[in-house]
Chain length 247, copies 4
């Protein structure tokens, strides 16, 4: 294969003729991220009855099970990323093209803004809080928050690569549920510390609507950094050899 | 095929000769909705020991896992709808006939009334509360409650269509559990806001027994509207092409 | 087949020559019920730190997930009943013999006593409470408690028959997990009302060790009655025809 | 086979030429245990907002679902033990070699120290608590704590052997999730009593970093003892005969 045709594949210029067509994948990423941000952030809001505050268990399961749900709803069309850190990890692992990655990340960001905007429309001003914006705990340093997001997203992406590894035949059970449950565990552990974002889009949508950009960079650099590390680690150390036998 | 025979199929006049027979499907929908309303509503009641009130986590998991359970118990006989919004979504998606839809919805409503009536018989008057009736939070407008139900049921129906799409071969794991878990996530997120009905029958049963019809229309128009939107969206945008290969 | 040989099969005199041998099934039922009662009852005890009381969510998941676990551990050897109500439901549904049912129920009861006795040995006297004994809430009548156990066990057995129905090919996912999750939902709903036993052995073990037999009969007649009803209902109305095609 | 060649297999001298290579398995055990200890221990810490303390439900699900996640991430490379008690149980059951067992246990211990050290780096000194160190409740004796760990790890290992038994064809669903959920149930039941370790490495890492070795031996002897008992019990009483039919 010539250098040029190889480059065409990496960049993705041939992808517009694929099936399912790329615009459907972009739609799926948009709608998936919209619902992920909307339903997850619902669970962060309090005050629906006097004194009511959501527990960590509630928000961790709300986000994690919503992730499992929207991945199931979109995986056959787009691959079910709904997360720029996962899209970039797949790009680094050479599983998607540059063009697809750019379009997906744009769709995820617009979807997250739409989700946060719908959230703002569906709840009264007094109960909106910060629309589920991710914030570090007051007690940790910026570096610690960054480290928590790096480590957490490493495990999320390691899980994603594990359950979508085409060479593995040892796993039964639902792959979307496995990814969603890893996010539940990470939310139970890291949620109270760093906000447990694991997903730049999930932090971006509420930031756009509330206008609060304080320390926002952590939720891009941390998850994307952790995701790239996990992608390299899985691809070079843990990936199963593809099995070419007929079933 | 002539226009008339096509109409016979859409309306469903031929369905009475199918196997399993339709009366079994109607029985399954009745009994499934009865248990769904009974067990779910049990979890909404408080006061069993002084000061005890159920948490959002408890009711969300009780409803959602009961949904997974009754779908599993009925799916081979009726398809496991137990929800008029899902039945109408399948009708709009041309997956069931008009006749079957009408009979199922009647069975679901009668089942929900029976479930709420049994509930009223099994708990003392002082602890009955409103029998798990769905109500908007005092802090939101009618339109906001309507919007929350539309969006929530959109995701429930999107999930249902995703995991029952015959063209998809990428999903392993339990389809009923996937639907039930989506309801868990929606209950964790939307439960405290709109009551998290997602299901007109689930709201109808307690309304009949308590006689409280205040804002009841929201729980018909919202879920059915959201379900129809999801049905159209999935059918025209996300449905996988049927795979005709032998297995 | 003659009347006599038919009777031999129903009674089970030929079963001792089967593989796996029946004594292994009896061992599995003993050990499974022992662990079910031990781990579940651990979760009912409070006071490990001052003021600590388990929540309904905690005990419901502890019992339900332990059920899923011990069924998985025993199903290939004994069928994984660990519950006299389920054993009798299978007997009524003509899926096991009289002899096997009697031996299993004896093993379950002895296992439950052993589990409760080990529990009593592993926790100090002051924290033993009533060893997780099931009791009706003070606010309901005996008849209401009975009704709650009948309805709850109906759903548990309906689920068990659904996921073990050999004629069904529509269900993916773990059958033991499905049964365990139905018990989670029932514990979240009925636990605070009737104690959520669903299982005579689970109530019998702690009753033997504590000597508290007050209203104990409810937890035999209720679950067994509900289980028999569900067995008849499933066998005559919902059972799938066996599929004789080779795969 | 001669006595000597048999001994070579048991000890594992031939394993270095296997595929996947053993160093990958050792890497997987190291990284899996690191993340297990890190994420699980995150969930044990409190104080992120004033008055916040994690609930038993939160820590039990955090540990258990993290176990499911890391097993999924490592099982194709190392078998996914991440627990010396499980490694020794497999050794006793003649499923792995002595050499592999020794290397895995070393990797698990170093991984657990690394996880606890990273934890100490990511949280401020005031909120570190004891880094999730396992401790018996003040109200139980040493013997009772030992007994709780023996019984709990017996069930964990019984589950592990059940879902990895190559002769069993009756189980669908995710094996790693089944093991993780058994740990959830055990955490819900035994967590408040003994600390619910089930895993010497999980107790060892925080002990090294905090320097608190008080009663540490319990968390080696208890889990390993319970695991060996379960291994013998499963291997001699419950193991399914291997099925040699082609699929
Ligand atoms: Ca995410
Ligand atoms: Ca519903
Ligand atoms: Ca039971
Ligand atoms: Ca462990």
């Amino acid at each position: 294969m010539s250098y040029l045709s190889n480059l065409r594949i990496i960049l993705g210029f041939d992808e517009f003729s694929r099936d399912p067509p790329m615009w459907r994948g972009v739609c799926a990423e948009f709608l998936g991220t919209l619902f992920f941000v909307l339903i997850g952030s619902f669970s962060c809001l309090g005050g629906w009855i006097p004194g009511y505050e959501p527990t960590v268990v509630q928000t961790a399961f709300a986000f994690g099970i919503t992730i499992a749900t929207v991945i199931q709803c979109t995986s056959h069309v787009s691959g079910g990323h709904i997360n720029p850190a996962i899209t970039i990890a797949f790009l680094v692992g050479r599983q998607i093209s540059v063009l697809r990655a750019i379009l997906y990340i744009m769709a995820q960001c617009v979807g997250a803004i739409a989700g946060a905007a719908i959230l703002a429309g569906l709840v009264p001003k007094e109960l909106r809080g910060n629309l589920g914006l991710t914030k570090p705990s007051d007690y940790i340093t910026t570096g610690q928050c960054f480290g928590v997001e790096v480590m957490s997203t490493f495990l999320l992406v390691w899980t994603t690569f594990s359950v979508t590894d085409e060479g593995r035949t040892d796993l039964k059970g639902s792959a979307p549920l496995a990814v969603g449950l890893s996010a539940v565990a990470l939310g139970l552990g890291a949620g109270p510390i760093s906000g447990g974002s694991l997903n730049p889009a999930r932090s971006f949508g509420p930031a756009v609507i509330t206008g609060d950009w304080d320390l926002h960079w952590i939720y891009w650099v941390g998850p994307i950094g952790g995701g790239i590390l996990a992608s390299l680690c899985y691809t070079f150390c843990f990936r199963a050899p593809k099995n070419h036998h007929c079933k």
